[in-house]
């Protein structure tokens, strides 16, 4: 059976600098998978290749068995890849509702319509509002994103991605920079993500990783060091030496 998302020998070079080397990776349908690695391991580059933001130098990317390596970003989104960004990439001056509705409208094929007012597209509004309610953001729907606390802005990132109804969701450090008091919100949302979505999370916070992931892939210097269950990864001497050695206990 084909994986929800798979890469085969994926490589990326910037001139002489190799940032991804022969990464072969499988994300099973409905999986909760984490990608970890020290700074500069190539995690975000890998995600950027998966989404089409960066073209790979070599290798294949398969979504549900279909080769999407050469597809543009928009086409990959239409086929079911959603993502969040490590650094907030939102429409800061727009309302929370609009941030989510833009994606919903695009997915519903309504975003190119230029005659009826946007606010009269009730399907889009209701779906976006429903999503915001699920994430506890309903009261903030009319606020500008820039006026929200950072933790809630991170939630808007996730809401936008969920509005695309993805088959595969790539979460690039969803709790990065979020104060401890607000990170609980993010964790709750991660726990409640729909089971049918295959989720790949990139995260530095090991508590989040071990709480969330069923499988973990460790990336070091652009190559896959190892992959396994959280217990296997925690017990791997190489990982402990390279990455997890700093963990308490």
């Amino acid at each position: 059976m084909s994986a929800a998302l798979e890469t085969r020998d994926l490589c990326k070079s910037f001139g002489a600098l190799r940032v991804a080397e022969h990464i072969s990776f499988r994300l099973e349908a409905g999986a909760r998978h984490a990608l970890i690695g020290p700074n500069g391991a190539g995690k975000t580059t890998f995600v950027n290749m998966l989404t089409g933001l960066l073209p790979p130098s070599a290798g294949l990317i398969l979504l549900g068995g279909e080769d999407i390596t050469r597809l543009a970003q928009a086409a990959r989104v239409k086929r079911g890849i959603g993502r969040t960004f490590q650094i907030n990439t939102l429409f800061s001056d727009m309302s929370v509702l609009d941030n989510v509705a833009l994606g919903v409208a695009e997915r519903q094929g309504l975003a190119a319509r230029f005659w009826h007012p946007a606010s009269r597209h009730h399907d889009v509004r209701e779906e976006a509002l429903g999503l915001l309610e699920t994430l506890g953001l309903a009261e903030d729907a009319g606020k500008r994103v820039v006026d929200l606390p950072y933790g809630k802005q991170r939630l808007v990132e996730i809401a936008i991605a969920l509005g695309l109804k993805p088959r595969v969701l790539l979460l690039d450090e969803p709790a990065a920079g979020v104060p401890t008091l607000e990170s609980g919100m993010i964790l709750q949302v991660l726990d409640r993500l729909p089971g049918e979505i295959a989720v790949l999370i990139i995260e530095h916070d090991m508590d989040v990783v071990f709480r969330f992931a069923q499988r973990i892939t460790v990336l070091v210097e652009g190559t896959v060091l190892c992959e396994g269950t959280p217990a296997e990864i925690a017990g791997d001497a190489r990982v402990q030496r390279i990455y997890l050695g700093e963990r308490d206990g």
């Binding site: 970003q73 800061s92 833009l102 409208a105 190119a112 230029f114 606010s119």
Partner: protein, 324 residues
């Protein structure tokens, strides 16, 4: 007058939005000696509206918008003067189509670039158009301009008169149509998408928006509106000069829009009004130094009112509300 568009915005036309139209109608009855200037202002408002659609809403920076304005003017002028097509509606239609086609052809190239490269390409396209108009003297009249334009009465009934009454009302009617269409578009999902592209193009790609195609559509529509404005100028002036093309009219238009307020829809109304009245007044009072006044106005707006004149109005209204 707010910038708020999108899925939470109320699309109904507010009372304040009728004021420019009431003002324009009042000017028709109260200031009959200024109707030719009024027609020119209305034409430039339509031109500025077309720029606001791409600059203010879609974030495309251009210094070559006069290419579409000039093409519209020359298409209408050449059809009327050389080919005997005198129906004003037909001329407008031809001008809009030609400008739209140029918009698609040039937009297909320039919208693949960004920043300074894009800006330079728009400038180059306007310069090329200017040079073509300059050299093709047998068709365009070259540096002498295109004269001999005859325009038939509108709908066979309303003749363009010496006092500019018909021209003024014709410009007003077409501006109203242009405004209505533009406003509809801005409040639509398409308009919200353009604002999204302006705000964060990376995110728009990430939510699956075919950014290039949407920008190209907006660019073509904007070009058509600019072409319409150019044709209006040709019809009402019955003359087309080289000054409709090149950097100067594009830059002038940009200044008008910045003065009024970019991305506010009505900044396109206020900017040309203030600019052209100031130009008319200053050119009479200080024929040699009138540009100084315009420059000073622009410097003040850029330094103290980033949102243009409408930005000042918004700030004053907000302050008044706070005190109440």
């Amino acid at each position: 007058m707010t910038r708020s568009v999108g899925y939470g915005a109320d699309p109904r036309i507010r009372f304040a939005e009728w004021l420019p139209w009431l003002g324009a109608l009042a000017a028709f009855f109260l200031l009959p000696e200024y109707l030719p200037l009024g027609a020119r202002i209305l034409t430039y408002v339509l031109f500025a509206l077309s720029l606001d659609l791409i600059l203010g809403y879609a974030g495309i920076i251009t210094l070559g918008h006069s290419a579409f304005f000039g093409l519209g003017a020359y298409v209408a002028g050449i059809l009327a003067a050389k080919l005997g097509v005198t129906d004003p509606l037909l001329l407008l239609l031809a001008a809009a189509c030609a400008a739209g086609a140029l918009g698609i052809a040039t937009g297909a190239v320039i919208l693949r670039t960004h920043g300074l490269t894009q800006l330079m390409l728009t400038l180059a396209i306007a310069a090329v158009c200017l040079e073509i108009a300059h050299k093709a003297t047998s068709v365009t009249g070259g540096a002498d301009g295109l004269s001999g334009i005859t325009i038939a009465p509108i709908f066979g009934a309303f003749k363009f008169d010496l006092f500019g009454r018909t021209a003024y009302l014709w410009c007003l009617a077409l501006l109203f149509a242009g405004w209505w269409v533009t406003r509809k578009m801005i409040y639509s999902p398409f308009g919200a998408t353009l604002c999204g592209i302006r705000e964060n193009i990376v995110r728009m790609h990430a939510i699956g928006v075919p950014v290039y195609r949407r920008l190209l559509a907006a660019y073509a529509i904007s070009a058509m509106l600019a072409g319409l404005a150019g044709a209006l100028l040709a019809e009402t002036n019955q003359f087309v000069g080289l000054n409709v093309l090149g950097f100067e009219p594009s830059g002038e238009l940009m200044v008008m829009l910045i003065l009024g307020g970019v991305g506010r829809l009505y900044g396109a109304f206020v900017g040309p009004l203030v600019y052209l009245i100031a130009q008319d007044f200053l050119a009479k009072q200080f024929p040699e130094y009138w540009y100084f006044g315009i420059g000073l106005m622009l410097v003040l707006v850029v330094l103290f009112a980033r949102g243009g004149i409408l930005g000042i109005a918004d700030a004053l209204v907000a302050r008044a509300r706070k005190t109440v």
